[in-house]
Protein backbone atom coordinates (compact mmCIF):
# COMPACT_ATOMS: atom_id res chain seq x y z
CA UNK A 1 0.00 0.00 0.00
CA UNK A 2 1.32 3.37 -0.96
CA UNK A 3 1.99 5.63 1.97
CA UNK A 4 0.04 8.85 2.38
CA UNK A 5 3.30 10.79 2.19
CA UNK A 6 4.23 9.30 -1.16
CA UNK A 7 0.74 9.90 -2.54
CA UNK A 8 0.85 13.47 -1.29
CA UNK A 9 4.17 14.02 -3.06
CA UNK A 10 2.80 12.71 -6.34
CA UNK A 11 -0.40 14.73 -5.97
CA UNK A 12 1.65 17.84 -5.29
CA UNK A 13 3.49 17.21 -8.57
CA UNK A 14 0.09 17.27 -10.33
CA UNK A 15 -0.67 13.55 -10.79
CA UNK A 16 -4.49 13.32 -10.98
CA UNK A 17 -4.64 9.61 -10.04
CA UNK A 18 -2.58 10.22 -6.90
CA UNK A 19 -4.72 13.25 -6.03
CA UNK A 20 -7.91 11.21 -6.45
CA UNK A 21 -6.64 8.37 -4.28
CA UNK A 22 -5.38 10.78 -1.62
CA UNK A 23 -8.71 12.58 -1.57
CA UNK A 24 -10.56 9.28 -1.28
CA UNK A 25 -8.42 8.35 1.71
CA UNK A 26 -8.69 11.41 3.87
CA UNK A 27 -11.98 13.01 2.82
CA UNK A 28 -14.39 10.64 4.69
CA UNK A 29 -12.66 11.29 8.01
CA UNK A 30 -12.66 15.02 7.37
CA UNK A 31 -16.39 15.00 6.54
CA UNK A 32 -17.23 13.11 9.77
CA UNK A 33 -14.91 15.38 11.75
CA UNK A 34 -16.69 18.48 10.44
CA UNK A 35 -20.11 16.97 11.10
CA UNK A 36 -19.07 15.95 14.61
CA UNK A 37 -18.04 19.50 15.42
CA UNK A 38 -20.56 21.50 13.41
CA UNK A 39 -23.56 19.19 13.08
CA UNK A 40 -25.15 20.53 16.26
CA UNK A 41 -25.26 24.07 14.87
CA UNK A 42 -28.09 23.30 12.48
CA UNK A 43 -27.84 23.67 8.75
CA UNK A 44 -29.01 27.27 8.68
CA UNK A 45 -25.69 28.58 10.00
CA UNK A 46 -23.01 26.54 8.38
CA UNK A 47 -22.81 23.49 6.20
CA UNK A 48 -20.37 20.87 7.54
CA UNK A 49 -20.07 19.52 4.00
CA UNK A 50 -18.97 22.91 2.69
CA UNK A 51 -16.45 23.21 5.49
CA UNK A 52 -15.17 19.71 4.70
CA UNK A 53 -14.75 20.69 1.06
CA UNK A 54 -12.87 23.83 2.11
CA UNK A 55 -10.59 21.66 4.23
CA UNK A 56 -9.88 19.33 1.30
CA UNK A 57 -9.03 22.20 -1.03
CA UNK A 58 -6.87 23.86 1.63
CA UNK A 59 -5.00 20.59 2.11
CA UNK A 60 -4.28 20.37 -1.61
CA UNK A 61 -3.26 23.99 -1.78
CA UNK A 62 -0.83 23.42 1.09
CA UNK A 63 0.60 20.14 -0.23
CA UNK A 64 3.92 21.69 -1.35
CA UNK A 65 4.45 22.99 2.20
CA UNK A 66 3.64 19.53 3.58
CA UNK A 67 6.45 18.07 1.49
CA UNK A 68 8.84 20.70 2.81
CA UNK A 69 7.97 20.31 6.49
CA UNK A 70 7.84 16.54 6.83
CA UNK A 71 4.81 16.58 9.17
CA UNK A 72 2.80 13.31 9.39
CA UNK A 73 -0.02 13.53 6.88
CA UNK A 74 -2.84 13.04 9.41
CA UNK A 75 -1.45 15.84 11.56
CA UNK A 76 -1.17 18.06 8.49
CA UNK A 77 -4.79 17.42 7.43
CA UNK A 78 -6.44 17.70 10.85
CA UNK A 79 -4.59 20.84 11.89
CA UNK A 80 -6.03 22.49 8.80
CA UNK A 81 -9.44 20.97 9.59
CA UNK A 82 -9.32 22.23 13.20
CA UNK A 83 -8.61 25.78 11.99
CA UNK A 84 -11.42 25.67 9.43
CA UNK A 85 -13.88 24.34 11.99
CA UNK A 86 -12.89 27.04 14.48
CA UNK A 87 -13.37 29.69 11.77
CA UNK A 88 -16.78 28.27 10.94
CA UNK A 89 -17.81 28.32 14.61
CA UNK A 90 -16.88 31.97 14.85
CA UNK A 91 -18.70 32.76 11.61
CA UNK A 92 -21.80 30.90 12.82
CA UNK A 93 -21.79 32.81 16.12
CA UNK A 94 -21.47 36.14 14.31
CA UNK A 95 -24.28 35.18 11.93
CA UNK A 96 -26.54 34.07 14.80
CA UNK A 97 -25.89 37.36 16.58
CA UNK A 98 -26.85 39.60 13.65
CA UNK A 99 -29.45 37.59 11.71
CA UNK A 100 -33.06 37.21 12.92
CA UNK A 101 -34.21 33.62 13.10
CA UNK A 102 -37.21 34.11 10.81
CA UNK A 103 -34.98 35.22 7.92
CA UNK A 104 -32.69 32.19 8.12
CA UNK A 105 -32.76 30.06 5.08
CA UNK A 106 -31.43 26.54 5.00
CA UNK A 107 -29.18 25.91 2.03
CA UNK A 108 -30.42 23.44 -0.52
CA UNK A 109 -28.76 20.08 -0.32
CA UNK A 110 -29.74 17.16 -2.43
CA UNK A 111 -27.72 14.60 -0.53
CA UNK A 112 -29.23 14.99 2.93
CA UNK A 113 -32.92 15.10 3.55
CA UNK A 114 -34.15 17.35 6.37
CA UNK A 115 -35.23 14.42 8.53
CA UNK A 116 -31.78 12.87 8.45
CA UNK A 117 -30.15 16.22 9.18
CA UNK A 118 -32.45 16.64 12.16
CA UNK A 119 -31.45 13.19 13.46
CA UNK A 120 -27.76 14.03 13.11
CA UNK A 121 -28.22 17.42 14.77
CA UNK A 122 -30.10 15.87 17.67
CA UNK A 123 -27.47 13.17 18.13
CA UNK A 124 -24.69 15.73 17.92
CA UNK A 125 -26.32 17.88 20.58
CA UNK A 126 -26.66 14.88 22.88
CA UNK A 127 -23.02 14.01 22.30
CA UNK A 128 -21.90 17.55 22.93
CA UNK A 129 -23.83 17.60 26.20
CA UNK A 130 -22.14 14.34 27.08
CA UNK A 131 -18.73 15.64 26.07
CA UNK A 132 -19.32 18.93 27.81
CA UNK A 133 -17.74 17.69 31.04
CA UNK A 134 -14.49 16.89 29.30
CA UNK A 135 -11.58 19.21 28.85
CA UNK A 136 -11.04 20.66 25.38
CA UNK A 137 -8.15 18.27 24.74
CA UNK A 138 -10.12 15.21 25.89
CA UNK A 139 -13.09 16.23 23.74
CA UNK A 140 -10.87 16.71 20.68
CA UNK A 141 -9.26 13.32 21.30
CA UNK A 142 -12.65 11.60 21.39
CA UNK A 143 -13.75 13.38 18.19
CA UNK A 144 -10.51 12.51 16.38
CA UNK A 145 -10.55 8.90 17.55
CA UNK A 146 -14.28 8.15 17.00
CA UNK A 147 -15.42 10.51 14.25
CA UNK A 148 -12.24 10.94 12.20
CA UNK A 149 -11.07 7.40 12.95
CA UNK A 150 -7.46 8.28 13.73
CA UNK A 151 -5.24 5.99 15.79
CA UNK A 152 -3.80 7.09 19.13
CA UNK A 153 -0.46 7.68 17.40
CA UNK A 154 -2.04 9.89 14.73
CA UNK A 155 -4.00 11.85 17.34
CA UNK A 156 -0.74 12.37 19.21
CA UNK A 157 0.81 13.79 16.03
CA UNK A 158 -2.14 16.15 15.53
CA UNK A 159 -2.10 17.40 19.12
CA UNK A 160 1.67 17.30 19.63
CA UNK A 161 1.50 14.62 22.32
CA UNK A 162 2.89 11.13 22.69
CA UNK A 163 0.65 8.14 21.95
CA UNK A 164 0.93 7.12 25.62
CA UNK A 165 -0.31 10.55 26.72
CA UNK A 166 -3.20 10.28 24.27
CA UNK A 167 -4.15 6.82 25.61
CA UNK A 168 -4.02 8.12 29.16
CA UNK A 169 -6.18 11.14 28.28
CA UNK A 170 -8.72 9.09 26.31
CA UNK A 171 -9.11 6.60 29.20
CA UNK A 172 -9.69 9.47 31.61
CA UNK A 173 -12.24 10.91 29.20
CA UNK A 174 -14.13 7.59 28.95
CA UNK A 175 -14.00 7.15 32.74
CA UNK A 176 -15.53 10.59 33.14
CA UNK A 177 -18.24 9.79 30.57
CA UNK A 178 -19.07 6.51 32.35
CA UNK A 179 -19.38 8.31 35.68
CA UNK A 180 -21.69 10.85 34.13
CA UNK A 181 -23.76 8.11 32.47
CA UNK A 182 -24.11 6.34 35.84
CA UNK A 183 -25.20 9.57 37.48
CA UNK A 184 -27.74 10.11 34.73
CA UNK A 185 -29.12 6.57 35.10
CA UNK A 186 -29.45 7.05 38.88
CA UNK A 187 -31.33 10.30 38.35
CA UNK A 188 -33.65 8.64 35.81
CA UNK A 189 -34.39 5.79 38.28
CA UNK A 190 -35.21 8.27 41.03
CA UNK A 191 -37.52 10.20 38.70
CA UNK A 192 -39.18 6.98 37.57
Amino acid sequence: MILDRELAGRAARGEPTAAAELLERFRPGVVRYCWAHLGSLGRGHVSPDDVAQDVCLAVFEALPRFRDRGTPFAAFVYRIAANKVADSFRAARRAAAVRPIETMQEPADDQWDPERCAVIADMSRRMLRLLDDLSDTQREIVVLRVAAGLSAEEVGEVLGKTAAAVRMAQSRALTRLRERARDQESTDEVVA
Binding site: A11, A12, G14, P16, A19, A20, L23, E24, R27, P28, V30, V31, R32, W35, A36, G39, D49, A52, Q53, C56, L57, A58, F60, E61, L63, P64, Q111, W112, V119, I120, M123, S124, R126, M127, L130, S135, V142, R145, V146, A147, A148, G149, L150, S151, A152, A164, A165, R167, M168, A169, Q170, S171, R172, L174, T175, R176, L177, R178, A181, E185
Partner: protein, 273 residues
Protein backbone atom coordinates in the same frame (compact mmCIF):
# COMPACT_ATOMS: atom_id res chain seq x y z
CA UNK B 1 -3.50 -7.65 34.59
CA UNK B 2 -4.12 -4.64 36.77
CA UNK B 3 -0.69 -3.03 36.86
CA UNK B 4 -1.16 0.57 37.83
CA UNK B 5 0.83 3.20 36.06
CA UNK B 6 1.63 6.56 37.56
CA UNK B 7 -0.09 9.79 36.82
CA UNK B 8 1.37 11.36 33.66
CA UNK B 9 0.40 14.94 34.15
CA UNK B 10 -3.27 14.80 33.17
CA UNK B 11 -5.67 15.39 36.02
CA UNK B 12 -7.23 12.36 37.67
CA UNK B 13 -6.44 9.11 39.42
CA UNK B 14 -3.78 6.75 38.11
CA UNK B 15 -5.06 4.39 35.42
CA UNK B 16 -4.42 0.68 35.17
CA UNK B 17 -2.99 -0.81 32.01
CA UNK B 18 -6.01 -3.06 31.42
CA UNK B 19 -8.39 -0.12 31.31
CA UNK B 20 -5.99 1.79 29.05
CA UNK B 21 -5.78 -1.16 26.66
CA UNK B 22 -9.52 -1.84 26.62
CA UNK B 23 -10.37 1.80 26.07
CA UNK B 24 -7.86 2.00 23.26
CA UNK B 25 -9.42 -1.04 21.57
CA UNK B 26 -12.92 0.40 22.04
CA UNK B 27 -11.96 3.70 20.40
CA UNK B 28 -10.19 1.85 17.56
CA UNK B 29 -13.38 -0.11 16.87
CA UNK B 30 -15.56 2.99 17.07
CA UNK B 31 -13.21 4.84 14.75
CA UNK B 32 -13.48 2.07 12.15
CA UNK B 33 -17.25 2.17 12.47
CA UNK B 34 -17.46 -1.33 13.98
CA UNK B 35 -19.83 -2.48 16.69
CA UNK B 36 -17.97 -2.31 20.01
CA UNK B 37 -17.30 -5.55 21.85
CA UNK B 38 -17.28 -3.58 25.06
CA UNK B 39 -20.81 -3.21 26.31
CA UNK B 40 -21.94 -0.20 28.23
CA UNK B 41 -23.93 2.96 27.88
CA UNK B 42 -21.00 5.13 26.84
CA UNK B 43 -19.80 2.66 24.21
CA UNK B 44 -23.32 2.34 22.83
CA UNK B 45 -23.84 6.11 22.72
CA UNK B 46 -20.52 6.69 21.00
CA UNK B 47 -21.26 3.93 18.50
CA UNK B 48 -24.67 5.43 17.77
CA UNK B 49 -23.12 8.83 17.30
CA UNK B 50 -20.49 7.43 14.93
CA UNK B 51 -23.20 5.68 12.93
CA UNK B 52 -25.21 8.88 12.45
CA UNK B 53 -22.22 10.80 11.07
CA UNK B 54 -22.50 10.92 7.29
CA UNK B 55 -20.13 8.90 5.14
CA UNK B 56 -18.67 10.80 2.23
CA UNK B 57 -18.96 9.11 -1.12
CA UNK B 58 -16.14 8.94 -3.65
CA UNK B 59 -14.93 12.36 -4.73
CA UNK B 60 -16.65 13.65 -7.83
CA UNK B 61 -14.84 15.08 -10.83
CA UNK B 62 -15.70 18.61 -9.87
CA UNK B 63 -14.02 18.33 -6.46
CA UNK B 64 -11.02 16.58 -7.99
CA UNK B 65 -10.63 19.33 -10.60
CA UNK B 66 -10.84 21.96 -7.87
CA UNK B 67 -8.21 20.06 -5.83
CA UNK B 68 -5.84 19.89 -8.80
CA UNK B 69 -6.39 23.58 -9.46
CA UNK B 70 -5.58 24.28 -5.79
CA UNK B 71 -2.32 22.34 -6.07
CA UNK B 72 -1.28 24.28 -9.17
CA UNK B 73 -2.33 27.65 -7.76
CA UNK B 74 0.73 29.88 -7.20
CA UNK B 75 1.23 30.37 -3.50
CA UNK B 76 1.77 33.75 -1.95
CA UNK B 77 5.37 34.16 -0.81
CA UNK B 78 6.04 33.08 2.73
CA UNK B 79 6.28 35.62 5.47
CA UNK B 80 10.04 35.43 5.87
CA UNK B 81 10.54 35.63 2.12
CA UNK B 82 8.33 38.72 2.05
CA UNK B 83 10.24 40.22 4.97
CA UNK B 84 13.60 39.51 3.36
CA UNK B 85 12.41 41.01 0.10
CA UNK B 86 11.22 44.15 1.84
CA UNK B 87 14.48 44.45 3.79
CA UNK B 88 16.56 43.92 0.65
CA UNK B 89 14.51 46.48 -1.25
CA UNK B 90 14.86 49.00 1.57
CA UNK B 91 18.62 48.39 1.69
CA UNK B 92 18.87 48.77 -2.06
CA UNK B 93 16.90 52.01 -1.98
CA UNK B 94 19.03 53.33 0.89
CA UNK B 95 22.24 52.43 -0.95
CA UNK B 96 20.85 54.00 -4.10
CA UNK B 97 19.94 57.18 -2.26
CA UNK B 98 23.39 57.39 -0.65
CA UNK B 99 25.04 56.75 -4.00
CA UNK B 100 22.91 59.36 -5.74
CA UNK B 101 23.64 61.89 -3.01
CA UNK B 102 27.33 61.02 -3.03
CA UNK B 103 27.55 61.71 -6.75
CA UNK B 104 27.00 65.40 -6.08
CA UNK B 105 28.84 65.62 -2.74
CA UNK B 106 31.72 68.00 -2.29
CA UNK B 107 34.91 67.62 -0.24
CA UNK B 108 33.20 69.10 2.84
CA UNK B 109 30.29 66.65 2.75
CA UNK B 110 30.00 63.61 5.04
CA UNK B 111 29.42 61.59 1.88
CA UNK B 112 32.74 62.70 0.39
CA UNK B 113 34.48 59.36 1.19
CA UNK B 114 31.67 57.58 -0.67
CA UNK B 115 32.12 59.95 -3.59
CA UNK B 116 35.86 59.26 -3.61
CA UNK B 117 35.19 55.52 -3.54
CA UNK B 118 32.42 55.31 -6.13
CA UNK B 119 33.12 58.36 -8.32
CA UNK B 120 36.88 58.58 -8.19
CA UNK B 121 37.37 60.68 -11.34
CA UNK B 122 34.58 63.07 -10.45
CA UNK B 123 35.97 63.39 -6.93
CA UNK B 124 39.42 64.29 -8.27
CA UNK B 125 37.98 66.85 -10.66
CA UNK B 126 35.83 68.33 -7.90
CA UNK B 127 38.80 68.50 -5.53
CA UNK B 128 40.84 70.22 -8.27
CA UNK B 129 38.04 72.76 -8.79
CA UNK B 130 37.92 73.44 -5.06
CA UNK B 131 41.68 73.79 -4.84
CA UNK B 132 41.67 76.13 -7.86
CA UNK B 133 38.98 78.29 -6.31
CA UNK B 134 40.92 78.36 -3.07
CA UNK B 135 44.14 79.40 -4.83
CA UNK B 136 42.27 82.12 -6.73
CA UNK B 137 40.80 83.46 -3.51
CA UNK B 138 44.22 83.56 -1.90
CA UNK B 139 45.66 85.23 -4.96
CA UNK B 140 42.91 87.84 -4.84
CA UNK B 141 43.71 88.52 -1.19
CA UNK B 142 47.43 88.74 -1.99
CA UNK B 143 46.77 91.28 -4.76
CA UNK B 144 44.65 93.29 -2.37
CA UNK B 145 47.56 93.32 0.08
CA UNK B 146 49.98 94.23 -2.66
CA UNK B 147 51.85 90.90 -2.48
CA UNK B 148 52.04 90.57 -6.22
CA UNK B 149 54.80 87.97 -6.28
CA UNK B 150 52.87 85.63 -4.07
CA UNK B 151 49.71 86.33 -6.03
CA UNK B 152 51.49 85.46 -9.25
CA UNK B 153 52.68 82.15 -7.83
CA UNK B 154 49.18 81.32 -6.54
CA UNK B 155 47.72 82.10 -9.95
CA UNK B 156 50.31 79.80 -11.53
CA UNK B 157 49.16 77.05 -9.16
CA UNK B 158 45.54 77.79 -9.96
CA UNK B 159 46.29 77.64 -13.69
CA UNK B 160 47.84 74.18 -13.34
CA UNK B 161 44.97 72.97 -11.13
CA UNK B 162 42.28 74.22 -13.47
CA UNK B 163 43.52 71.84 -16.14
CA UNK B 164 42.26 68.94 -13.99
CA UNK B 165 38.75 70.37 -13.72
CA UNK B 166 36.42 68.23 -15.83
CA UNK B 167 33.43 70.51 -15.94
CA UNK B 168 33.90 72.76 -18.94
CA UNK B 169 31.84 75.62 -17.55
CA UNK B 170 33.68 75.54 -14.21
CA UNK B 171 37.05 75.40 -15.94
CA UNK B 172 36.19 78.37 -18.17
CA UNK B 173 34.93 80.40 -15.25
CA UNK B 174 38.02 79.68 -13.15
CA UNK B 175 40.34 80.42 -16.09
CA UNK B 176 38.57 83.73 -16.63
CA UNK B 177 39.05 84.60 -12.97
CA UNK B 178 42.74 83.70 -13.18
CA UNK B 179 43.17 85.88 -16.28
CA UNK B 180 41.35 88.77 -14.64
CA UNK B 181 43.57 88.57 -11.57
CA UNK B 182 46.73 88.31 -13.68
CA UNK B 183 45.69 91.53 -15.39
CA UNK B 184 45.69 93.25 -12.00
CA UNK B 185 49.30 92.32 -11.31
CA UNK B 186 51.60 95.14 -12.48
CA UNK B 187 54.07 94.13 -15.15
CA UNK B 188 57.51 93.25 -13.90
CA UNK B 189 56.46 92.26 -10.41
CA UNK B 190 55.02 88.89 -11.15
CA UNK B 191 58.36 87.11 -11.24
CA UNK B 192 59.64 88.57 -8.01
CA UNK B 193 60.06 86.03 -5.32
CA UNK B 194 59.91 88.63 -2.57
CA UNK B 195 56.51 88.39 -1.01
CA UNK B 196 56.83 91.80 0.52
CA UNK B 197 57.75 93.60 -2.63
CA UNK B 198 56.02 96.86 -2.99
CA UNK B 199 54.70 98.51 -6.07
CA UNK B 200 57.54 99.83 -8.21
CA UNK B 201 58.83 103.21 -7.21
CA UNK B 202 61.80 105.36 -7.93
CA UNK B 203 63.55 104.09 -4.86
CA UNK B 204 65.77 101.15 -5.23
CA UNK B 205 64.48 98.12 -3.50
CA UNK B 206 66.07 97.52 -0.23
CA UNK B 207 67.98 94.39 0.19
CA UNK B 208 66.11 91.81 2.10
CA UNK B 209 66.67 92.10 5.72
CA UNK B 210 66.36 89.08 7.82
CA UNK B 211 65.16 89.65 11.29
CA UNK B 212 67.27 87.59 13.54
CA UNK B 213 67.19 87.44 17.24
CA UNK B 214 69.65 89.87 18.74
CA UNK B 215 71.85 89.03 21.63
CA UNK B 216 72.76 91.93 23.88
CA UNK B 217 75.79 90.09 25.12
CA UNK B 218 77.22 88.35 22.15
CA UNK B 219 79.54 85.61 23.06
CA UNK B 220 83.12 86.69 22.93
CA UNK B 221 85.21 85.62 20.11
CA UNK B 222 86.95 82.52 21.16
CA UNK B 223 90.36 83.83 20.40
CA UNK B 224 92.64 83.46 23.35
CA UNK B 225 94.42 86.57 24.44
CA UNK B 226 97.58 86.99 22.65
CA UNK B 227 100.50 86.18 24.83
CA UNK B 228 103.50 88.39 24.66
CA UNK B 229 105.97 87.18 22.19
CA UNK B 230 103.69 84.93 20.41
CA UNK B 231 101.73 85.72 17.40
CA UNK B 232 98.20 84.58 17.33
CA UNK B 233 97.76 81.66 15.06
CA UNK B 234 94.32 81.17 13.75
CA UNK B 235 93.12 77.88 14.86
CA UNK B 236 91.04 75.64 12.68
CA UNK B 237 89.16 74.45 15.69
CA UNK B 238 87.45 77.45 17.14
CA UNK B 239 86.65 75.92 20.48
CA UNK B 240 88.65 72.95 21.55
CA UNK B 241 86.88 71.24 24.36
CA UNK B 242 89.74 71.41 26.82
CA UNK B 243 90.57 75.05 26.42
CA UNK B 244 89.17 77.38 28.98
CA UNK B 245 87.28 80.10 27.30
CA UNK B 246 88.20 83.35 28.97
CA UNK B 247 86.48 86.44 27.81
CA UNK B 248 88.93 88.73 26.28
CA UNK B 249 88.65 92.44 26.77
CA UNK B 250 87.89 94.32 23.67
CA UNK B 251 90.81 95.94 22.01
CA UNK B 252 89.03 99.21 21.98
CA UNK B 253 86.64 99.54 24.83
CA UNK B 254 83.37 100.78 23.50
CA UNK B 255 81.93 101.37 26.83
CA UNK B 256 83.21 101.91 30.28
CA UNK B 257 81.49 98.79 31.36
CA UNK B 258 83.97 96.05 31.59
CA UNK B 259 82.93 92.69 30.42
CA UNK B 260 81.61 90.68 33.22
CA UNK B 261 83.89 87.84 33.93
CA UNK B 262 82.30 84.51 33.73
CA UNK B 263 82.20 83.19 37.24
CA UNK B 264 82.22 79.70 35.98
CA UNK B 265 85.67 80.05 34.56
CA UNK B 266 88.58 78.89 36.61
CA UNK B 267 91.19 81.32 35.40
CA UNK B 268 93.36 82.62 38.14
CA UNK B 269 93.96 86.31 37.96
CA UNK B 270 97.19 87.32 39.62
CA UNK B 271 96.81 90.03 42.17
CA UNK B 272 97.93 93.42 41.09
CA UNK B 273 101.46 94.13 41.91
Amino acid sequence: MTTRIPFDGDHGAPMDLTTLHEDDLLLDQLGRGEEPTNSGTVAATLSQWRATLPEAGPPDDQLLAAAMAAVRRPRPPRRWVRGSTIAATALLLACGAVTAAAEHAGPGSPLWPVTQLLFHDQAEARAAADATAHAIAEARAAIGDGRFGQASRLLDDAASLVERVDDRADANRLSAEIAALRARIPAGTGETDDPDVRPPSSEAPEPPTRQLPTNPNPPPVSAPPAEPGTSPVPSQDPAPPNIIDIPSPPLVPESPILPTPDLTTTAVIPPPA
